[in-house]
């Protein structure tokens, strides 16, 4: 019983530590911009024939979208497209995925979060597709 409790406490502390480490990372908006444009926009333009400029949504809308983590009307997750597995799967034909192949998933996601927040319709620097 006590052993179980100790394990739970340990797991909690480790989880808290990991969360605070992730939160401590501010995000690199320039790297986010590159990943957003060369992976997200490139795929949307090719597959859906419609780009996704950051300035089409407000900061709140982007935050809600990323928080919900539902991509393609909930058929899969947004985070899937930041995973190392996904990057590995496209890196032979996508230079951004290749260049950032070893970047931790949470950092890359944070980079893009910072970029779309900044580039949102009501962001500090509204950004189109170019």
């Amino acid at each position: 019983m006590k052993r179980n409790l100790r394990l739970k406490v340990l797991a909690l502390i480790l989880a808290a530590g990991a969360t605070s480490a992730a939160q401590a990372y501010d995000g690199d908006w320039k790297r986010g911009r590159i990943y957003f444009r060369h992976v997200c926009t490139a795929c949307h333009s090719a597959e859906v024939k419609k780009a996704i400029p950051p300035n089409e949504r407000t900061k709140a809308e982007w935050a809600a979208y990323l928080q919900a983590d539902k991509h393609n009307k909930g058929k899969d997750s947004v985070t899937k497209y930041f995973s190392k597995q996904y990057r590995d799967s496209i890196k032979s034909k996508n230079a951004a995925a290749a260049k950032f192949a070893d970047v931790p998933e949470n950092e890359l996601l944070q980079d893009v979060k910072v970029f779309v927040n900044k580039g949102a319709k009501d962001g500090d620097a509204p950004a189109g597709c170019s």
């Binding site: 100790r6 406490v9 502390i13 444009r37 260049k99 500090d124 620097a125 170019s130």
Partner: protein, 533 residues
């Protein structure tokens, strides 16, 4: 109880672990690019209420920076060319927004200073130098048009009376994040010259902020990732490579580290040397007549941002059915008519014009006489010829315009366009008042009569270098109707205008006769062979 002790011990070990590790086994840290962490500087650990306050803090360490800046074209907006013409944004007229003069409040948001709203601006002030505009890394630094280069540090209604609330920028955070210049900082002005994204240059727009390789092989964000300063290598804040003093032909060697050179570092040759084509050496035979850019920049405005190819001010002033200033947009949403500016023609993936160019550019100044009998007026004229030994064939953007001039004094005029006052054209749509105010501001005579005159300006195409596989091929020029068809005074094999009909006929006749001879000979051999058997 024992669980509690365990938890405390665990927490303590987690907190202390890094320190113990640091002492026993150093953990490799991420290598910082800079030797300074600006968040640690006391001078920057304060709230700033204005740009000059930040500059004062910067200068407390970088003591000579403002003095260096004061000597630059970026600060003075003045440059005297070898012909003795006084150029620079301060005095020149163009055929985009025409002139910053009398419109300083709006245009001078792109000056590297704070507060240049009229001719009382103090060019000797050190704190008026804007360090952040070139060294920001946050991308949040803004100098809104209308504030004469000042920033909004506290949330306020802007423009006054508009009801629009603009959030103040966090100058402390921005100041603590400064670093070297980037494509974003240079681009904040140079991508938006002429009043909007990509408007002026054609080979510079926001697509260069994080471009793909196809748009610019050097700036490719996932490849070489050049910044502007990689080529425009700056010494003491002096930036080489101004279009006011262009280098048309660089016969110097590729620059090696440690050696001193008299040639500037911005040319292609400064890195690639004089014989850059290793696989097809024949191409090196072209470099004495053809600029690198001619073949390696097959088109401009290739990044998805259109550039303005013409601007007709004479049609400005139309109101829509609602009585408000009319705006018409194209299918992609880009304005092609604005009541405040007139009609535009936009271009994407534009094939350049080509000119002989020897590096000399002569400008039409405010005091020069212009005449409707000599339209279009050349706002600037690229000098050069096939025979001067200094010229190369260069790609250029030709900007065509129709702009106001004084038909009595026969001069181009400076209108006062931007502002909330009654004389600003964008407020009252009255050319008489706008021109009178503009000309009075610059101290030049105005007859009280105005008309519109056609103009052309020439812009060098030198950015947006394509990957080698997308460079021009032989047939792009060596063919009838090729790109260099109209370039005079040079023989280009295969070019339509260089064809001598008699020579072509004789050549083809020889070829046909040769073919007939070969076929006849072969046929004879076959027939004789059959007979012999």
């Amino acid at each position: 109880m024992r669980t509690g002790i365990f938890v405390v011990a665990l927490l303590a070990s987690m907190l202390l672990a890094p320190a113990v590790n640091a002492a026993s086994e150093p953990v490799p840290a991420k290598l910082l690019k800079s030797t300074s962490d600006h968040t640690k500087f006391k001078a920057l650990q304060q709230e700033f209420n204005s740009g000059p306050e930040v500059t004062k803090a910067c200068l407390s360490c970088h003591t000579e920076a403002a003095k260096q800046l004061h000597q630059t074209e970026h600060w003075k907006w003045e440059y005297k060319n070898p012909q003795g013409q006084l150029l620079g944004k301060k005095t020149l007229i163009n055929n985009f927004c025409i002139s910053p003069a009398s419109n300083e409040g709006a245009c001078n948001s792109c000056h590297i200073g704070y507060g240049w709203k009229d001719d009382t601006f103090d060019f000797t002030s050190e704190v008026n130098v804007d360090c952040i505009v070139c060294h920001d890394t946050t991308g949040n630094y803004r100098k809104p048009a209308g504030l004469a280069g000042n920033v909004i540090a506290k949330t306020m209604e802007f423009p006054p009376g508009s009801g629009k609330i603009v959030k103040g920028i966090n100058l402390k955070k921005i100041a603590q994040s400064v670093a070297k210049t980037s494509r974003d900082t240079c681009g904040a002005c140079h991508f938006y010259g002429g009043g909007g994204d990509g408007v002026k240059h054609g080979d510079m727009d926001s697509s260069l902020a994080a471009p793909e390789k196809e748009v610019d092989v050097h700036m490719d964000a996932l490849g070489l990732n050049f910044t502007c300063a990689t080529c425009h290598m700056t010494k003491g804040h002096q930036v080489p490579g101004s279009r006011y003093a262009p280098t048309a032909q660089d016969k110097g060697a590729a620059h090696l580290r440690g050696k001193e050179y008299k040639t500037i570092p911005t040319t292609c040759q400064a890195c690639h040397g004089q014989a850059p084509h290793k696989k097809i050496a024949k191409l090196n035979d072209h470099t004495d007549k053809v600029a690198c850019q001619t073949c390696h920049i097959p088109a401009f405005a290739r990044g998805g941002v259109p550039t303005k190819m013409s601007w007709d001010w004479s049609t400005a002033g139309k109101m829509g059915p609602d009585g408000k200033p009319l705006t018409i947009k194209d299918a992609k949403g880009h304005p092609i008519y604005m009541a405040i500016k007139g009609d535009f023609v936009l271009g994407e993936d534009v094939v350049p014009d080509y000119r002989w160019f020897n590096g000399t550019v002569t400008y039409t100044l405010r005091s020069d006489k212009v005449d409707k009998n000599n339209e279009p007026v050349q706002i600037n004229r690229y000098e050069g010829s096939a025979s001067d030994g200094k010229s190369l064939i260069w790609p250029v953007k030709i900007m065509r315009g129709k702009q106001p001039f004084d038909p009595v004094n026969k001069t181009l005029v400076v209108p006062h366009t931007a502002g909330n006052d009654d004389t600003a054209y964008w407020t009252n749509f009255n050319w008489d008042k706008a021109i009178a105010k503009g000309m009075a501001t610059i101290g030049e005579p105005y007859s009280g009569k105005f008309d519109f005159i056609s103009t052309e300006s020439t812009w060098p195409i030198t950015h947006m270098v394509a990957p080698a596989k997308n460079a021009l091929r032989c047939r792009d020029c060596h063919a009838s109707g090729g790109r260099l068809e109209k370039v005079p005074d040079i023989y280009i094999p295969g070019r339509g205008s260089d064809h001598a009909r008699w020579l072509d006929t004789a050549g083809w006749a020889i070829a046909v006769l040769t073919l007939l001879g070969v076929l006849g000979h072969g046929l004879g051999r076959v027939i004789l062979s059959k007979r012999n058997h």
